[in-house]
Amino acid sequence: MKKLSKIYLGLVLFFLYVPIFVLIVFSFNTTKSRTVMSGFTFDWYIKLFRNEIIMESLWNTIIIAVIASITATILGTAAAIGINNMKKVPKAIVMNITNFPIINPEIVTGVSLMLLFVFFAARMNFEFGFWTLLIAHITFSVPYVILNVMPKFRQMDPFLYEAAQDLGCNSRQAFFKVVLPEIMPGVLSGFMMSFTFSLDDFIISYFTSGSDSQTLPVTIYSMTRRKVSPEINALSTIIFLVVVIVLVLKNVIERKSENNKVKVKGEKV
C-alpha cells in the first residue's frame, strides 16, 4: 500500500514536471530542433536578454504588478474594514459583487473591462495601454485581498478593540496597534496573491493592453503564435528557476518561524 502510493505520487510528479524539463533541456540546444540535442549553448539566453520587446514587457509587468498589488492591498484592506461593519443586507450585496471577478471566467472579466474602456476611450480620447492595464489588474486583485482579510476579522477576538480603548488608545491608535497586527497575515497573503496573479495574468491583460504597453505573458503569447523560437525555452528556464528559488526560500522561512513558535511554546512550559 505504502509502495503503491509512492509509485502513484511519482507518476503524477513525472506528468507535472516532464514538460518543464523538456523545455529546460532544449533551451541549451544549439539548433532550433525540439527533438535532437545537437550541442550545448547559452546563445538563446543571450538573445533573450538582447530582445528589447521582451525586456520592456518584463519591466512593464513588474511595474504594473507592484503598483497594482500595493493599491489593491490598501483599497481592499480599507474595504474589508468597512464591509465588516456593514449591516447584513448591504454586506451580502457588496460581497456578492466582490466575488464576481473570482467566480466569473477571466475571459468575461477581460471582455467586460474592454467594453468599458472602449466606451470611454472613444469619449475621453485615451488609448489602451499602461493605465487600462493597471486599472484591470487592480480590479481583479482587490477581491482577493478582501477575501483574505475578511476572515481575519471573524477570527479576531471582538473585544480586542475595546480592550485597547479601555487601556487608553484612541480609535486610530487602537487600529494601528491592535487591529492591524491581528489582520496583518490576511493583508500580507492578499498582497502576495495580488502580486503573483498580476505577474502571471494573461487573459485579462490580453483584452486590456495596447500595442505599446504589453505585459510579459502577452508578449509570450505573441511569440508562441509565431515560428519556433528557443528563446521561449530560455525564458521558461529562467522563470522556473526564479519560482523554485522563491518557493524554497518561502518554505524555509515559514518552517523556521514555525520551529521558533514551537520553541517559544516549549520554553513557557
Binding site: 507535472l16 474595504a79 468597512g82 456593514m86 471582455v111 519560482v243 518557493l247
Partner: protein, 269 residues
C-alpha cells in the same frame, strides 16, 4: 473601526469597474450596433450550440480526469508527516507558478508530429501519431494546467478531517476502505465540489489551450468570444451575447454544485 466610509473608495471602484462593465455586457448583448433593443444576437448564439456542447463536454472530461487523479493524490499526501506534507505540496503546486502559456507551449512542442513523444515512439517502431491539434490534446492541456486547482481544495479539506473521527470509524467496524467510503469521502465532498468548479470554469472558457493544442478545428466558447472582440470576426454585440450565455451556464453549474455543499464557501481557495 466603526467607520463605514473607509470602504467608500472601494465601493466606487467596485461599481465603476466591476458592476458597470458587467451591465455593459448585458447592454451590448441586447442591443444592435445603433443601440436599439434586439434579441437577434442572443438568438444567434444558438448557431454555435455545437461549440458550446464541445466546450462543456471537453471541460467535463478534463474535470473528471482531474478528480480521478487528484483524489488519491490528496489522500496520499495527508498520510505523510507534517513537514513532508508541506514539502510535497510545494512540489506538486510548483509547476502551477510557471506561466500557463509556457506550460501549454511545452506540450505543444512535445505533442507535435516531430515532437519528442513521436520521436521516442519512433525508436520503438511506433507512430508517428497525430496528437497535436486533436480534442485529446486539448483535454490533456486542460488536465495539465488545472490539475493543481483540483488537488489543493481536496487536500485542504481532507487534512482538516479530525483524526479521531477516522479512529471512530475504525472503532465502529470500518476497515480502511470502508472508512474512506463512509467517512473520508463524505467529509471531503466540499473540497471536491470547489475543486470541480475551480477546474471546470477556466476549462470551459479557455481559448489558449484550444488554440495552441487544438489547432483551428477545435474551437471552444473562449475562442468564439475572443474572435468577436479581437479577431477577424469583430462583432462586439455577438461577443457580449456569447459571454452572457457563458456566464449563465456557469452560474447554473455553480448553483447545482452549491446544493451539495452547505458550507459558507470557506474552501474557495
Amino acid at each position: 473601526m466603526k467607520n463605514k466610509l473607509i470602504a467608500a473608495p472601494y465601493l466606487v471602484w467596485m461599481v465603476v469597474f466591476i458592476l458597470v462593465p458587467l451591465i455593459m455586457v448585458g447592454y451590448f448583448a441586447f442591443t444592435d450596433k445603433e443601440g436599439n433593443f434586439t434579441l437577434d444576437y442572443v438568438a444567434d448564439v444558438a448557431q454555435y450550440s455545437q461549440i458550446f456542447v464541445r466546450s462543456i463536454w471537453l471541460a467535463a472530461i478534463a474535470t473528471v480526469i482531474c478528480l480521478v487523479i487528484s483524489y488519491p493524490l490528496a489522500y496520499i499526501l495527508t498520510g505523510f508527516s507534517k513537514n513532508t506534507q508541506s514539502t510535497m505540496l510545494m512540489i506538486v503546486m510548483l509547476p502551477m507558478w510557471m506561466n500557463f502559456l509556457l506550460r501549454t507551449y511545452a506540450w505543444m512542442t512535445m505533442l507535435g508530429n516531430n515532437g519528442i513523444i513521436n520521436t521516442i515512439l519512433g525508436f520503438i517502431g511506433l507512430g508517428p501519431f497525430k496528437m497535436l491539434n486533436t480534442e485529446g490534446a486539448v483535454v490533456l492541456g486542460m488536465v495539465y494546467n488545472y490539475l493543481p486547482y483540483m488537488i489543493l481544495p481536496i487536500y485542504s479539506v481532507m487534512v482538516k478531517i479530525d483524526k479521531s473521527v477516522i479512529e471512530a470509524a475504525s472503532d465502529l467496524g470500518c476497515n480502511p476502505w470502508k472508512t474512506i467510503l463512509r467517512v473520508v469521502f463524505p467529509l471531503s465532498l466540499p473540497g471536491v465540489m470547489s475543486g470541480i468548479t475551480m477546474v471546470f470554469v477556466p476549462a470551459i472558457s479557455t481559448f489558449i489551450i484550444s488554440r495552441m493544442l487544438g489547432g483551428g478545428g477545435n474551437l471552444l466558447i473562449g475562442d468564439l468570444i475572443e474572435m468577436q472582440f479581437l479577431g477577424n470576426a469583430y462583432n462586439v454585440n455577438l461577443g457580449a451575447a456569447i459571454s452572457l450565455v457563458l456566464m449563465v451556464i456557469i452560474l447554473l453549474i455553480m448553483t447545482i454544485m452549491n446544493q451539495f455543499d452547505n458550507d459558507d464557501g470557506a474552501v474557495l481557495l
